[in-house]
């Protein structure tokens, strides 16, 4: 039987990879991809807890759907920012975008 911990470890690995992507990548779009991976890991956890918990309690699925909406909003605005930045500053490298630093 595939037990709950398999799914949780799978999700943890996905989350860690996503975290690495967010921290290590230079390109802002690649960072957004890392965030997507992390959100997906969260969704796996939510659905796994629904499946292995009380099936009548649909909270896990409902929250997963909400996470979809949040992820979509995040990508839409994030990529719009990247495009806007590219147009103004001609770069999408996250470490060169330091206007707000000082």
């Amino acid at each position: 039987m595939v037990s709950l911990s398999w799914y949780l470890i799978f999700a943890a690995a996905l989350f860690s990879i996503g975290l690495y992507g967010v921290l290590a990548r230079k390109n802002a779009i690649a960072i957004l991809m890392g965030i997507e991976l992390m959100l997906n890991a969260v969704n796996i956890n939510l659905v796994a807890f629904w499946r292995y918990g009380d099936l009548a309690n649909i909270a896990g699925q409902a929250f997963a759907v909400i996470v979809f909406a949040v992820a979509a909003a995040e990508v839409a605005v994030g990529l719009a920012l990247v495009i806007s930045l590219y147009r103004r500053r001609n770069t999408v490298a996250a470490d060169e975008i330091n206007l707000m630093k000082w």
Partner: protein
């Protein structure tokens, strides 16, 4: 090993491998294509968890819309793809260490958490999770506020994104 376990291991393996490529490939379009594979793997995991609705939504939203949006954004900001410099910043070693540490820590906690013993409840034949989801999403006792808020959030995100990306 049962058939289901083998399928799970294949799905998980492919997903993790694809996501590793996502965060390491220098070519951004390739990263986006690997991302599509990784997201598809997550959809397969949803299927294995009997959440068919979420699986198709995952494919529809992530592969059909978000990945396409990302590829469009990559093409629009494409001059960066030509710079041959490293695609990782100076902290990548620390990032890798942190990622490994996080994974090790989480795995350690999980193994000792007793999740191994969680039983798999049998699916009721007459229960339809989709109908249940539909009822609860618009039920005042459950998720109607998040439901309407999500709508407003998406509207705000759309307006915001268009204002930001719009060229005057």
């Amino acid at each position: 090993m049962s058939g289901l376990e083998i399928i799970f291991l294949i799905v998980a393996g492919v997903t993790l491998l694809a996501s590793l490529f996502v965060v390491t490939t220098p070519n951004l379009v390739h990263a986006a294509l690997w991302l599509i594979l990784a997201l598809f793997g997550v959809a397969a995991a949803f299927v294995l968890l009997n959440a068919a609705f979420l699986a198709v939504v995952q494919v529809l939203v992530y592969i059909g819309a978000i990945a396409v949006l990302m590829i469009f954004a990559i093409m629009l900001t494409r001059r960066v793809m030509k710079d041959s410099g490293p695609q990782t910043n100076a902290n990548w070693v620390w990032a890798a260490l942190l990622g490994l540490l996080l994974f090790a820590g989480l795995t350690f906690v999980l193994i000792n958490s007793g999740a191994e013993q969680a039983s798999l409840p049998a699916l009721a034949l007459d229960a339809d999770p989709i109908a249940q989801l539909g009822q609860e999403l618009v039920s005042p006792n459950a998720y109607v506020i998040p439901f309407e808020l999500a709508s407003v959030l998406l509207l705000a995100a759309m307006i915001g994104a268009i204002v930001v990306a719009w060229k005057k």
